[in-house]
Amino acid sequence: MTSQNVVEDLVSQPYKYGFVTDIEAEKITKGITEDVVRLISSKKNEPEFLLDFRLKAYKQWLKMKEPNWAELGYSKLDYQDIIYYSAPKSNQKKQSLDEVDPKLLETFDKLGIPLSEQKRLSNVAVDAVFDSVSIATTYKEQLAEQGVVFCSISEAVNEYPDLVQKYLGTVVPLNDNFFAALNSAVFSDGSFVYIPKGVECPMDLSSYFRINSGDVGQFERTLIIAEDHSSVSYLEGCTAPMFDTNTLHAAVVELVALDEASIKYSTVQNWYSGDENGVGGIYNFVTKRGQCRGHRSKISWSQVETGSSITWKYPSCVLQGKDSVGEFYSVALTNNMQKADTGTKMIHIGPGTRSTIVSKGISAGNSSNSYRGLVQMGPKAVAARNYSQCDSMLIGDKAAANTYPYIRSQNAISSIEHEASTCRISEDQLFYLQSRGIGFEEAVSMMVSGFCRDVFNQLPMEFAAEADKLLALKLEGSVG
């Protein structure tokens, strides 16, 4: 077997999280209409302002066209063939975990996210979202002692309506884009985080999103608010079962950082990515944006994207506050027929703002992996600085990597640096490692994780180990 074939075998590992939990779910009928939007809102007992928000978004959405500029070439979605709300039947918001359906707990156990008090992860509070609803949030009481709010967005809507109303849709307007408008109309659940003034969140917060049903779209909504001088680190993980149909995931994430606040948002995305012929898999069309409203505030995105049939996301920072900082660290691994078009937007508005972009794309199989990024320096962004580094690694000779950096500067005294490189794992490098007793798989995995090191260094510790394992898993297999 040639080394070429071996590498291809190596990266074509079966998906480990492809099981389906057999649980009775309450689903509404397929399709989207104004009545469906009203139904979702009423099921969740939402206040008037939110229903208005949804209806406005729905009306905007009807007027919008599905974008096609990324040329991702996917089969068109039939928006009337999707179920917009699904909840495990046994779900009424539970007072304690003992009341949660054991099947659900078991599901998260299997995913490596134990929720029960004895087994839960130490030092990480978890909000577990199953299809459309949040089923449990751990460590809530401990966080509440510090005034930190960490709950599902549905809960927040009822318990902290003023905060939700004040911030929802202010970072990503309801008509921002086609998928954001759709999400604003039908979003089901997601996480809400509020860090009060001067509080350093005592533990990492984490949401775990699980799609279970094949015909249900997932439209989660996350809102994180960090008040003056506060800080938080938030982690997000995702998996889905294997279906041969495509499932839509169109999330919206909004982050708001006030004076000298800092938000670190990390994602490990491992949605099912379809089989080797490109059948099935998740369409991941996500709008993630953070606003550094306060001076010296900071928003840092780090992401490890390994799954989805199609990934289309650009976690962005709007740098309004003077001397605010935006960061984007990304590893995107694509294999088989996967397509990823991902990157970031750094919108420099305030003076002295700084941003850093480090993007690592790894393409194997027949996949295509594009970095698309915008760095914009507004007229008032004097002495603003940006540094971008985009590296691509190709495995095999059928994969594609592209880099599309867009740069716009409207003032003469800001600085923008961009570096890009492409490399291929060479036969000679592999042979060198092998000739020192290191097996083929381990050699590939060593080189890939070496390539990603700059990004992994940015991930929270538990996550970095996880990401390394995840990449190794995706690259693991029988040799020869």
Partner: protein, 262 residues
């Protein structure tokens, strides 16, 4: 020093090999016993580097005929990593750079793969640091190079020292050193040669692949083989190297063709 009853480490019989359909090795025979140092010399393109790559199992080289037995095992049936684990070491002429992979971690994983094979305990980061710091003195390498990526930004001499450091850590049974002298200034050559001499033991063997005699004035071989057109055409003691240095490869070729004619 040479003991005719010593154990045979490597036996190459009638080895034919090609790269990209071009036949390079055309019947190499060579036997190496424990405690011996062999040198293979020859012009560029004579096949001496191909021999080293074939022995280490480089995937671009195809063996068409012949047999290689290493410590009683059929070497050619093994993957490159298996060859390394049982004690074959190739010191590269041009060690590649591997960005992002820490040199220290690379050395540790490599060392442990050999130790595992030998049934020895694998070393954790701390135990390995102690080991590497003792061995690094042998090649007088700055420990700062351990913190860098494998060979990345190393000078030619530093790369070669890193190769010999790997040899010192892996403790191979057979070390094949491919043009280890190329690109070295005289001081670096002496350091590298001293390291190799230190590592030569009665129970292991060394195969030097070299173009010039100058390495052989630092490391004295027991046997010198001359390769030409994919075959070993002459074998002698270390005096053969000196003769070649004085008279050039042409002398040998002329002599060979005249013997053929007569």
């Amino acid at each position: 020093m040479i003991n005719s009853s010593s154990e045979t480490i490597l036996e190459i019989s009638d080895l034919h090999a090609s790269v990209e359909d071009q036949s390079i090795l055309k019947g190499v025979n060579l036997r190496i016993n424990a405690g011996e140092i062999h040198a293979v010399m020859g012009r560029n393109g004579s096949g001496k580097s191909t021999l080293s790559k074939v022995l280490a199992g480089h995937p671009s080289y195809k063996v068409n005929k012949g047999k290689v037995v290493f410590l009683g095992k059929d070497l050619l049936s093994l993957e490159p990593e298996e060859r390394s684990r049982i004690g074959v070491f190739l010191g590269f002429q041009y060690p590649v750079e591997i960005p992002g992979v820490s040199n220290l971690e690379f050395l540790r994983v490599a060392t442990n793969s050999r130790r595992k094979q030998l049934g020895e305990e694998e070393l954790d980061t701390f135990a390995f640091e102690d080991l590497v710091r003792s061995r690094i003195k042998l090649v007088q390498m700055d420990p700062a190079f351990l913190e860098r990526s494998v060979n990345e930004g190393f000078s030619g001499g530093e790369k070669k020292r890193n190769e010999i450091l790997q040899m010192a850590l892996l403790e191979p049974v057979l070390s094949i050193l491919d043009e280890t002298d190329s690109g070295l200034d005289i001081d670096a050559l002496r350091i590298v040669a001293a390291g190799v001499n230190e590592l030569a033991k009665p129970e292991n063997a060394i195969l030097l692949i070299t173009h010039y005699q100058r390495l052989l004035s630092e490391i004295t071989p027991d046997f010198v083989h001359v390769m030409s057109s994919g075959k070993i055409v002459r074998t002698g003691g270390c005096e053969l190297a000196l003769e070649l240095e004085r008279l050039g490869y042409e002398w040998l070729e002329e002599e060979l063709s005249s013997t053929k004619q007569s």
